[in-house]
Subunit: 110 residues, 2 copies
């Protein structure tokens, strides 16, 4: 069983949170960052990442600007105004969820 199946539903929040902190990131950078932060445990697949970014952008939460860096095109994403609100809202939701989940995981035998 691949641990990455756990990413389901949390990828958007991860993106929103990273942009909340870093201000501006491009797709490849996001996937590298998550991999490094998880010590290589989690690799966001491209097939999940790019559609997620596009959906967030289509929903008006992200804004983009494309730049040419060292001969390669980069598409930078940043939070829109509504994206900033949504980010803090969803991060709160995840925290509540994680608290409950960890409470279950940390249950002591009866």
């Amino acid at each position: 069983m691949n641990s990455s199946y756990l990413l389901k539903g949390s990828l958007q929040v991860i993106i929103l949170r990273l942009l909340e902190i870093h201000g501006r990131m491009y797709g490849y950078e996001i996937s590298r960052t998550v991999k490094e932060m998880s010590h290589g445990e989690f690799q966001i697949t491209e097939g999940a990442l790019y559609p997620a970014l596009h959906k967030l952008e289509a929903g008006g939460l992200l804004e983009t600007s494309t730049e040419l860096v060292d001969g390669r095109a980069r598409k930078y994403y940043s939070l829109s105004r509504s994206g900033k609100n949504e980010a803090s809202s969803r991060v709160s939701d995840v925290r509540i969820f994680l608290d409950s989940l960890q409470q279950i995981l940390n249950l002591k035998p009866v």
Copy 2:
């Protein structure tokens, strides 16, 4: 946006962990327990719960026994031998995942 979408992928682990602790539970009891433990924040829908239980059973991780209690049929689930191994394995996976996710969520602004 409903917070319950976050349950994706973690429902099976929740079930396995609860059974690991309680030994024996029936579906309705599992949904009540999660709701109480989350202070009403998370309601596992029946349309997610029962298919998840059936899949775990079909995979040989759960065993069942049906009992009639107060005139109503209850289907009790418990971990099989392989279910116990799988439970501890998946719980470890989730902990690793949660560590990474919380590390991202708890990032301090730069």
